[in-house]
């Protein structure tokens, strides 16, 4: 089943069906003024009229901390990969696009990441098209859109009191087929409404001029501008931890007497310890180099390696930076600076 209409009042049934089908359902839930993806047990908790979750949903696939193996003394044991079937309901297209970027990192190259793969394969992503972007959103300037399908299995459009579902992957279609008993076939008018919705939504996103940004950034590594850009940075990890495409991690051992586990946990290129050698040498010794790494990784290195910009324009880093460092502005300043050959 590729399309279906669900009355908003029937959402409860839909979520219940998913849970009955032995799937964990994650959806945006409002808690103390923050909206976060949380496992839900009923549709009542789900908040669909949110704009962007405070934390990106990347943690559902790359948890902040997960065990790679456990050990007792010198003998180790593999941690079995997850087999849980999951549905993420109500993801924003920008976050879904970020997942497809991360798929490139974790599944390409000579070695694949089994933990990431297991979670991705067992999860159906139901995205919800965006109609009311924030001032800090800029998805359309980084190859995205409030209705982009990349990374999602199903897209949901809110049309009046109904939700229009459209599936475009096998996983997505299978899920809709499962719910076919209470999904109605959409009328022509609904599809027209969707099209209007799409074009209206795209226009609402503030647009930047990021044309040729990759070429402009290519010559900016040695610009003195980096010092002034990074000057106000405080070196916390907010931007990277909230970012849906930042995926750097650390591997450390945790012990409890003889027993222990090897864990991988989020790490941030903004921390000085990130690249510190045991000898004391640090290739990125100050916040200038670390800021440069973050920006160029997203806009240049990822382009070189994957032909993708590892920024999806969700605006989280802009909204939550304690000192209002704005990646949009940074890029603009750099692009201008390269032109001048400063």
């Amino acid at each position: 089943m590729e399309q279906g209409i669900l009355a908003k009042t029937d959402m409860k049934k839909f979520i219940e069906l998913l849970i009955k089908d032995h799937r964990k359902v994650f959806a945006p839930v409002s808690r103390k003024g923050r909206v976060l993806f949380t496992e839900v047990s009923s549709a009542d908790e789900v908040k669909l009229d949110y704009r962007n979750t405070d934390l990106s949903p990347k943690g559902l696939f790359l948890p902040q901390c997960e065990a790679i193996c456990t050990f007792t003394g010198d003998a180790f044991q593999e941690v079995p990969l997850t087999k849980d079937k999951q549905v993420v309901f109500g993801m924003r297209p920008c976050d879904a696009a970020a997942l497809s970027h991360l798929d490139r990192v974790f599944t390409e190259g000579s070695q694949k990441d089994p933990c990431w793969l297991a979670r991705r394969e067992n999860t159906v992503i139901i995205s919800i098209a965006c109609s009311d972007p924030l001032d800090s959103c800029f998805c359309t300037s980084v190859d995205g859109s409030p209705v982009a399908k990349k990374g999602s299995d199903i897209m949901v459009y809110t049309i009046d009191d109904t939700l229009l579902f459209e599936a475009f992957t096998e996983k997505g279609k299978a899920l809709l087929t499962l719910a076919s008993s209470f999904l109605k076939k959409p009328k022509e008018s609904a599809l027209e409404a969707r099209q209007k919705y799409e074009s209206a939504a795209v226009k609402k996103v503030p647009a930047l001029n990021l044309a040729d940004i990759k070429e402009k950034l290519r010559g900016c590594f040695d610009l003195t501008l980096w010092s002034s850009i990074a000057e106000r940075c405080l070196g916390c990890g907010v931007c990277t931890y909230l970012c849906p495409t930042c995926h750097c991690f650390d591997i450390t051992d945790q012990t409890d007497g003889e027993r222990g586990r090897r864990i991988r946990s989020w790490d941030s290129c903004q921390y000085s310890l990130f690249t510190l050698h045991a000898s004391g040498h640090n290739p990125r010794p100050s916040k200038k180099e670390r800021m440069r790494q973050r920006i160029l990784h997203k806009f240049l290195y990822a382009q070189d390696n994957f032909k993708e910009t590892f920024c999806v324009g969700c605006g989280r880093c802009i909204r939550s930076c304690p000192v209002n460092l704005d990646i949009k502005e940074t890029i603009a300043v750099l692009a201008a600076g390269t032109g001048k050959g400063a």
Partner: protein, 279 residues
């Protein structure tokens, strides 16, 4: 699917103290399972994550050659948590090895060519692997003249003294060992590696240079190699970076868009010049 984050179980079979400062030891590791040894198929220049449960992992260049069957050698300097623990380890200690990781020296490209090997200090490890590999009777004929220039600060800091002794008598190669500062009883050369290299003056025609050493040595060796006529694509260097995953995912060892763990650690001088100097 194999989990690339899991090590192969190995046992510490032996170790030797390499230097007077006693902070460099070469560890001989033996796979617990024969099939793991077969799966761990490597070439000189590659590295592996040494894994000590409870302490963590540390990326170390492989010092043994694949022609040395039955064991792996790693020369490790005592610096951090993992290497400190390793230095305290006793024979029989169970640990892990994850790899092989990274790209080896370009043996395809080196075939039939003269090889100039320049090493300094403790960075000689993967070069030892390369020399041993090249000198092996099965491989020696595949390469031309072998010239090795190796230096350390003092005689006591030279690695692999046994190998150096044997290679010194080996007519199949031309070995020049030097020290920055001679001590009593040192009969060999005294002088910095770049200067010795200039003296030795190996031919650059149909030749490849492999260079590993501390940054300062690299900085002064490069002009000499260029002077000798080596071009950027014929000089190969091995880099070091802080690493965790070793498979290009964890995001910390990049120089520009290249990852030292997967695209390196061996790079041509030409490649390095096109990359930012952030290492």
């Amino acid at each position: 699917m194999d989990n690339p984050y899991l090590p192969y179980p190995v046992t510490l079979a032996d170790f030797i103290i390499e230097n007077d400062a006693r902070d460099l030891k070469t560890f001989k590791l033996v796979f617990e399972k024969k099939e793991d040894e077969n799966r761990f198929s490597y070439l000189p220049g590659q590295f592996a994550e040494l894994s000590l449960f409870g302490k963590g992992e540390s990326p170390i260049g492989i010092a043994s050659s694949p022609t040395e069957k039955g064991y792996l050698l790693f020369t490790v300097k005592k610096t951090g948590l993992v290497t400190g623990e390793l230095h305290n380890a006793e024979v029989g200690k169970k640990m892990g090895v994850r790899g092989p990781l990274g790209k080896p020296f370009p043996f395809e490209k080196m075939k039939g060519k003269d090889i100039v090997i320049v090493g300094g200090g403790f960075a000689f490890t993967t070069l030892r692997s390369a020399i041993t590999y090249i000198l092996h009777p099965d491989n020696r004929a595949g390469f031309g003249k072998i010239t090795v220039v190796y230096g350390a600060r003092t005689p006591g800091e030279l690695l692999y003294k046994k190998d150096l002794g044997e290679w010194g008598h080996d007519r199949r190669m031309d070995l020049h060992v030097t020290v920055d500062k001679a001590t009593d009883g040192w009969k060999g050369r005294e002088g910095l590696v770049p200067n010795v290299l200039r003296d030795v003056h190996p031919s650059s025609s149909n030749a490849i240079a492999l260079v590993c050493g501390p940054p300062i040595m690299i900085r002064f060796t490069m002009p000499v190699l260029l002077e000798l006529g080596f071009t950027g694509e014929n000089i190969f260097l091995s880099l070091e970076m802080r690493m965790k995953c070793g498979i290009g995912k964890c995001g910390r060892c990049n120089i520009g868009h290249r990852f030292v763990c997967t695209d390196g650690p061996v790079f041509t001088y030409q490649e390095l010049q096109s990359l930012p100097s952030e290492y």
